[in-house]
Subunit: 457 residues, 2 copies
């Protein structure tokens, strides 16, 4: 009963689809975070649900940890095998199984990425809205309850996963949810697994909700005099019920990086980036109403576009904002935060973060999906400086505590992984122990992604 | 260790707020279903969370079943103490604790009813959308994952409960969720408790999402030549992305009852009732688009109104449709079904139900929240005829199996209670056992609403 045994037996089962090659292991130990490269002992590439179930059963017998792997873009060490064991790379389960145009849903394997799904959907007039900055897998996105720029209008993975198939820690295969839009049929296991970060089950299939391409779309960038002006314009837009499809905040530092990296020439000031979806008339009306609000909050001028190519250029640059900021200092690492607060407290939360950045010797930028009250600070760190990491951690800690004090959460969309564990007791109190009880029940041997989300002893 | 002991000790704890009076027990054994009156051994009326926790701890010591009670309008025997014990009547915990207008949420105790919440909100320009036909409590609605006519646009209790406080079976008090609009912070305990029908926890506080009163509202009734015409017009409306706020189907039998009961004079044909929310221009545009679709499906004429009083009269009559149908035969009982299917299969499902009614000697009517694929058949039964009940059960059974065959669920909104237990294995397979595992973990003594949702032995 050991990890070594497990690997030997997995090799016999999977042949070349079980790898212990250094390069492959290292790839599955890399991450866009402050954690050092942490390679697993081996990497498996299953192709079917049955194979996943067999791997899980074998690993249970051998007490070998299993860490599911999408494309490894999670930001709190979620997909790293800190306790060794197997990285379960889902990338070969990447088929789009069914697209039900009439029902506006699709059945996909977990290794499909969000961009590929949308490419395949293009001809149907439908799209899948959830769009983290990275081109993540649907399985990874479901596992982290991901969201993105569209969530303010279209919801997160919670709302956009209708059903799933998953392998439990003892190898049982279950289905949770149906293609019907509503159900009151028992406990909501679908939403228990969405957001469980590979600690309760390996997701092997997803039924996701699709949405109709809007008849008309227009996008805008709008500069503001101050951070407060931009944030308050956002708050008022949400409160007045304008159904914006996207409303993103970027501070001046983000805009500077964005200009350099993507060749834009926006005024280096706090901005809102917006998108409106609807009928021609509806979009014009939304934009006009937003314009009035923005003017009252010191808007410095809009740029509008309804040209699809320009819009795509804007949003793909927005999705790369993290890399743009990192590119400001070649060789730097970034550490990114992820709080979410009730919208009425958003200005306070962002202004506190801005004051912290101003007083710190680190350079930091603020941006976020502010329509939901969710924002990030990215700090640039010298990878060889423990002092930089220490300082970034100190500021992140302040920001997380502030979010909790304002009635919010320490993670709006990135998830807990290992990095947010120290805040779980403060955020959830006794409920965190209930999460651990559920983990112990469904994974008594603690083999599925141990050390993440909950603490088991 | 007995129910008797529990009652004695509860009397000492609660004084007059613990009742064993026959009338009160009987009231808490009554139900709008096919179950006979089933009084609990006693009824407790707690006033605080601490009191609920103390009651639960005491009942755990005495192994006394606890069945939470809202107003008892659930339709599958959910709130009945089939195994004896205590009915925990939440009606005294009926305060609206906070209304956060800027964040569009409210914090309420579970005994608040949906109508009272909306009365209190009127001045704010906000409203709470979930509207089961009955004036249910928010606690009961959360516990059954209820929905109603507005769910097609505004979601069910799943989407409209942001956070909750609950007492677990061992008396621990937990909070799940926050007032922030998004979070990826750990397992979704909020949604595990929503829909758990009092079997995992007693909900003692809810934070619910509010929505802005739309600028413009218009409602319509639209008659069709055939059932298929009405249903297909609904399907196409949903597929074309018109953001209807309500779209309800009523068959000719429902309309006849509706006319008699509420003094309307609608043509006795299948109907859609609709409501559009938006700006003045948006509402007109939606209505025009719907009108085109309806015409293609044999619409027989519309009646429009944007007058608030007429609208309220229409919807309050719609909410009473069940009572209207029952009133068609004084003294009759009704048995009501509740399936939900993918929208593309809705016409099939409804036509199969209509054929079953046509071939049966029972009178039945069909109506439902068809925008979500959810509909009900109500059968009228002679309360003294076991044959009537048998026949209604036979037809319900066919309908439930058909819903599963079409990829749907046996309960779109009413929940499982005791009545839908026989379908749980067929709908969920192994996942139903996982639900039971969670129940055993959180309620090892099986004292919270035993015999509902899951089966424990
Ligand atoms: C530049 C950049 C921008 C980002 N922007 C956003 C954003 O806007 N919004 C957002 O939400 N996130 C964002 N992220 C974070 C990241 O993209 C998301 O967390 C994403 O959901 C991770 O998907 P992945 O496929 O990379 O999963 P991985 O990182 O490989 O895995 C994430 C977690 O899910 C588990 N997992 C993966 N697949 C499965 C499966 N099939 N079954 C069970 N568990 C599984 C893993 O074990 C791990 O715990 C960003 C990241 C980067 C680098
Ligand atoms: C005429 C009519 C029309 C209806 N229309 C609809 C409809 O359109 N949509 C719909 O969804 N339903 C509908 N229903 C069903 C019913 O109204 C809902 O199920 C409602 O949610 C029940 O609320 P209640 O307060 O009556 O709860 P109860 O019937 O008292 O209890 C329901 C369940 O919740 C539990 N419970 C109650 N309070 C709590 C608490 N605080 N904590 C934990 N558990 C609790 C109970 O133990 C029980 O299991 C209708 C019913 C009738 C009679």
């Amino acid at each position: 009963m050991s990890i070594e045994n497990a690997i030997e037996r997995l090799e016999a089962m999977l042949g070349p689809r079980l790898s212990t090659a250094a390069a492959i292991r290292e790839h599955h130990g890399r991450n866009e975070t402050y954690y050092p490269v942490t390679p697993p002992d081996a990497v498996a590439f299953p192709e079917t649900t049955e194979e996943v179930a067999a791997i899980v059963r074998l690993c249970a017998e051998e007490r070998c940890p299993i860490v599911p792997w999408g494309v490894g873009t999670s930001l709190e060490g979620h997909a790293l095998a800190f306790e060794g064991g197997l990285s379960l790379d889902m990338s070969r389960m990447d088929r789009i199984l069914e697209v039900h145009e009439a029902d506006m849903d699709a059945v996909v394997q977990p290794g499909v990425t969000r961009k590929r799904l949308n490419e395949e959907l293009r001809a149907t007039g439908l799209f899948f809205p959830v769009d983290p900055g990275a081109d993540a897998t649907l399985g990874g996105m479901a596992a982290t309850r991901a969201s993105g720029t569209n969530a303010v209008r279209y919801g997160t993975m919670r709302e956009n996963v209708l059903a799933l198939e998953a392998v439990l820690a003892d190898g049982r295969v279950i289905r949770a949810g149906t293609r019907a839009r509503k159900s009151s049929s028992g406990y909501d296991l679908k939403n228990l697994i969405v957001g469980s970060e590979g600690t309760l089950a390996v997701i092997t299939e997803l039924t996701v909700r699709l949405h109709g391409q809007p008849e008309a779309v227009s996008a805008a960038t709008c500069a503001f005099e101050t951070v407060g002006g931009a944030v308050n314009a956002c708050i008022e837009t949400i409160q007045s019920g304008i159904p914006v499809a996207r409303i993103e905040f970027l501070d001046a530092a983000s805009i500077a990086a964005f200009n350099d990296y993507a060749g834009f020439d926006l005024p280096v000031r706090p901005h809102l980036f917006l998108e409106f979806h609807g009928s021609e008339a509806g979009v014009a009306e939304q934009a006009a109403r937003f314009g009035e609000i923005a003017d009252e909050h010191g808007a410095q001028g809009f740029r509008w576009t309804s040209d699809a190519q320009e819009r795509n250029r804007l949003w793909s640059a927005r999705h790369n904002a993290y890399f743009a900021f990192k590119a400001q200092r070649p060789g730097a690492r970034a550490l990114t935060t992820d709080v979410c607060v009730p919208i009425s407290r958003l200005a306070e939360a962002i202004e506190a973060a801005a004051a912290d950045i101003a007083q710190s010797r680190l350079s930091g930028s603020i941006l976020g999906h502010v329509g939901d009250g969710n924002f990030h600070v990215a700090y640039l760190l010298d990878p060889d400086s423990p002092e930089d990491l220490e300082e970034a951690r100190r500021l992140t800690h302040r920001m997380n505590l502030n979010a909790l004090a304002l009635g919010g959460t320490v993670t709006g969309e990135h998830g807990v992984g290992r990095g947010k564990i120290p805040y779980m007791a403060a955020e959830h109190g006794e409920a965190w122990q209930v999460m651990a009880q559920i983990k112990r029940t469904l994974d008594p041997l603690n083999i599925l992604n141990p050390g993440k989300v909950v603490q088991i002893n």
